[in-house]
Assembly symmetry: C2
Homo-oligomer: 359 residues x 2
């Protein structure tokens, strides 16, 4: 059971292939822009999902205020692609990073995050190299136990350090509340805001994050912008989180069944090098649209092990199937490019230009 | 506690960085070549670990007979890099693959694997395009339950199909015994060999695989070559398998501690986009040489979550640590390049030229 488009992709491009449906991409961009507009919160999409200046420009054209990057190398690619309002939501440390950040700041508007004094102490070198002020947001942890200060008192202390550092300006707060942690985030924010005002500061940016949090956008009183990423493509995790349907999933991995040694198992040509070992907390490594009862049970690097014991319909060797990945962002990072389609037509090949920017 | 080399890497190159110690690389290449030589079995290293024609050429210079690739795209890069004896140990299917395989076969010596009639039926198109015979090895499953025929009878049937297919030649058998499954492989091989001889065939290639199987090389009577991959770098899995020591681990991920919000936890700038979510069946995602009691407990894409509850020494923000990854092959695939060092000197930057070849 290979669809006409799948047959065309396999014949003209080959499998495994990452294929994006541009009609769905555009619909997802418009839908989430409207969610942000309706909530009165600016949209600053995280480009970690698509890693493409072309798609970032689409998001901005439809109303996004700017973009979010996690790595300096991603921000450099986006600036090269003409994006001029970039938030790097990550602690940057070291001479090499400061030299690059300075060069980036000299040519575009960039804001960085910090959650500790070591990071802030390093940033003035970048501002000096650029010859202009560097805005800094303070990352706050509100339950995720990742990066971010733990208390409003630390926010105030770091804001004081930013104020007295040459070339830095205090820009606001960066938050990434858990899906159920928005009242906790509100308490944190309210207390931090009171302290900031005593320093004579008002946060210009109060940023919340996450596509699973799209159902919460606007709940934090004082929030100015949101940073959703995955919504442009969606995936099995977003469907599980209740913020997307299968029809909103715009990226499919097309994969060929290459072996079928026993009736109750098969092998896909997409292994961990394509779909990644990231389960996103779900069972199996993706949903096969043509065989939803088939389980992608485990991986070698180039082999996806299919467990077909619960499948009434079983793919034959040579069949090309479509897979909705569990976590689409990490899958996109595995490929140098994605195939763009509309309906049953291939309309282009899009480089994943900011792929693999480890630094 | 940042070592002088780590400080240099961070300052001149930036973190996270994949760093290979060329003295160790050369030692590993020589050591495993000797294991194969002593066992009277040719060495055909799998390039999936390093994905570099430069390192493949080093392996050949020291005595390797040729190389193994898993993907056609890897083989194309290796042929471009001057390698002229390539085994693709994978079922290739479809017009797009056959066109590329034909072009590759026209310019270099390439052998492919097959484990089913659909694959074999497609291969003559490649041979015809190349204008020369295409040697085919039959993949046999001997306990791994991945690809490979399940019975010697299937070997005989597929060998017959190869014999009667235009442009194909029967080249032998491809096996990947489990570490404890070599007597099972011997029984399978002996029975297949008897049947092949009745067809007037003798396998020129009888290939076994795996770096963890280096302790078993030579155990299969009739084996002509072995396909170890990971031994060039080694990793935590190889140490756990008893085929390498920590001093044999030639690739380290250098990572900066960027956040330390609470005393018992920290954040590395290497997350799943660098170290991957592939645990290799081990606890934690890598060994930190400077803090072996610290556990890399979980990941976001750009954050490595350190659990320091059992650590007597705790890294400070800004420290650069060295990590031995669990599974080095998948980590190498995440990066466009690796930094080459000897002693405390950076001696070059090596592109991971065959990285990310999904097809």
């Amino acid at each position: 059971m290979t669809s006409p488009l799948a047959a065309k992709i396999a014949r003209e491009y080959g499998t495994p292939a990452l294929v994006i449906d541009m009609d769905r991409v555009e619909r997802n961009i418009a839908r989430v822009q409207k969610i942000c507009d309706d909530a009165g919160v600016a949209n600053r999409p995280h480009i970690k999902t698509h890693k493409s200046p072309f798609l970032a420009q689409l998001q901005i054209k439809v109303g996004a205020k700017g973009i979010t990057c996690q790595k300096l190398g991603e921000a450099e690619v986006m600036a090269e692609g003409g994006i001029d309002d970039i938030l790097i939501s990550y602690n940057l440390i070291g001479d090499e990073k400061m030299a690059r950040l300075g060069a980036l700041l000299a040519k575009t508007n960039v804001t960085v995050a910090a959650d500790n004094p070591v990071v802030i102490a390093g940033l003035p070198a970048a501002a000096a190299a650029a010859g202009r002020a560097l805005p800094v947001v303070i990352e706050c942890d509100t339950g995720r136990k990742r990066a971010g200060v733990e208390t409003p008192a630390e926010v105030i202390a770091l804001a004081g350090q930013i104020l007295s550092a040459p070339g830095l300006s205090f820009a606001g707060l960066l938050m990434y509340p858990t899906e159920t942690g928005w009242s906790e985030a509100q308490r944190f924010y309210d207390e931090a805001l009171a302290g900031l005002r005593q320093l004579g500061l008002d946060p210009a940016i109060v940023s919340t994050g996450g596509s699973p949090n799209l159902k919460n956008v606007g709940k934090l009183k004082g929030a100015t912008e949101h940073r959703p990423g995955t919504y442009i493509y969606n995936d099995r995790m977003q469907v599980a989180a209740g913020v997307a349907t299968w029809d909103d999933c715009a990226l499919h991995v097309y994969s060929t069944v290459v072996s079928h040694a026993a009736p109750d198992r098969g092998i896909l040509d997409a292994g961990s090098k394509t779909l990644t070992a990231d389960t996103g907390g779900l069972d199996g490594y993706g949903l096969i649209l043509e065989h939803p009862e088939a389980r992608i049970a485990r991986f070698a690097e180039e082999h996806g092990f299919l467990d077909l014991t619960k499948s009434n319909t079983r793919p034959a060797v040579g069949d090309v199937v479509r897979i909705v990945p569990n976590h689409v962002c990490v899958v996109v990072n595995m490929s140098d490019e994605v195939v763009m389609v509309r309906g049953d037509e291939i309309v282009g090949i899009l480089p994943v230009a900011a792929r693999g920017k480890l630094r």
